[in-house]
Subunit: 239 residues, 2 copies
């Protein structure tokens, strides 16, 4: 029986709406149900960490929560060990994962979330790093992390910002589906859940629920991809 509490967002901002607005109610309910007062924010995915933290702080303050940026802490491991809740924001997944390794935070975050039940919110890159690996990120590999292995808070991968092929496009780069299929040609790779912008997965212990605005697309090695509607119980992916 796992004690994890995860809110894994495909993305932070949907078209025509403000930062995190589409997920505002989900985030507030998630944190209030755990009586969280203060959130530890991990801004490593962007290089402008002060500005990024201000953006996040403004939003979380408007909802009644305090927020600290981990990058201003002299001891990031201690900050994780004392955190009431952790929010890892989007940006570049490679930069983010390298930041987690450089600051020796992989094991401390794993322990806090999987053993102590500390609530974890991830968005975009912050969702990528919550999974088995960053092998299915969409980002450009602008820095070299020591590994693609990530926090493994769940035993599968997520492709955030999942997007369907545009049948009118003349561009010959691989579609998202083709890229994920190429990943699954490699033996031993885990399932990949494609979360469209405006979708999120809420994981409570051994229960995983699709929430938000759009169906999700599930890719499994050797199988045809499948569509699942909002409110699907994805707990079978946690086994």
């Amino acid at each position: 029986m796992s004690v994890r509490n995860l809110l894994l967002l495909s993305n932070s901002t949907i078209h025509g709406s403000g930062y995190l607005e589409w997920a505002a109610q989900h985030i507030q309910d998630f944190l209030k149900s755990k009586e969280v007062k203060k959130v530890l924010f991990v801004p490593y995915a962007l290089r402008t960490m002060d500005n990024y933290t201000e953006t996040a702080r403004k939003k979380f303050t408007s909802w009644g929560f305090e927020l600290d940026g981990i990058h201003t802490s002299v001891d990031p491991v201690a900050a994780v060990n004392n955190a009431e809740a952790i929010f890892i924001g989007g940006g570049n997944t490679f930069q983010l994962l390298k930041g987690l390794y450089d600051n020796k935070l992989i094991e401390p975050i794993r322990k806090r979330v999987l053993q102590d039940g500390v609530p974890y919110i991830g968005s975009s890159a912050g969702t990528n790093v919550s999974t088995v690996s960053i092998n299915t990120t969409n980002d450009m590999p602008i820095v070299f992390p020591p590994s693609f292995d990530a926090l493994a808070l769940v035993p599968f991968n997520i492709n955030p910002h999942y997007i369907d092929a545009n049948p009118g496009s003349t561009h010959m780069g691989e579609t998202r589906e083709e890229r994920i299929n190429q990943y699954h040609e490699i033996p031993g790779t885990p399932p990949v859940l494609g979360l469209r912008e405006g979708a999120l997965l809420k994981v409570t212990g051994d229960l995983a629920l699709l929430m938000g605005l759009h169906p999700a697309r599930l890719f499994r090695p050797g199988k045809q991809p499948e569509e699942f509607p909002v409110a699907t119980d994805f707990s079978f992916l946690l086994k």
Copy 2:
């Protein structure tokens, strides 16, 4: 005075045309001017290497050249050392670069191309690995190579399949330009030449010429991106 001879294609296939057809004349002229009879093909970017080599062989044979797949060689380093010309095809850039490292081919190819003047053709991922690093690939990181450092046959990076932002899109993932700009926020990064599908760069010693069907977009740290028309002399990037 460099002896290198490179033909760096953005991509293999443009919309509505067959494999390598758009570049057929460029490739034939390039190889015939060097009196090449046989090409060594590197198919590491795809996992179906036999099929991939057959596709390439069919095309090159129709042009009057022989073609061998390096993956069938018992000694790939010897194959490189004996090659008259090298063609590295597209697919997944991470898989390709890992294949070059696993087979200990980075230094042998560098030496053959930069010291012996062996003609090198790259397409898509094969163009990515010819540059300083694969930091500006578009591909999904489906495998973990030991480094992102590549062959460095030129002292800059290329973004193949370069694509302009679609002003009508509601998708919130970063545009290509935003991704390259994020790369350039990192100190010490080289220029990035965005080659649209159907564009190629021909490098002869210290001369670099843009050829093909489309203008290229050049990104340099701290500068506004610039457009350059077909036939631009990009030799300044080689200094």
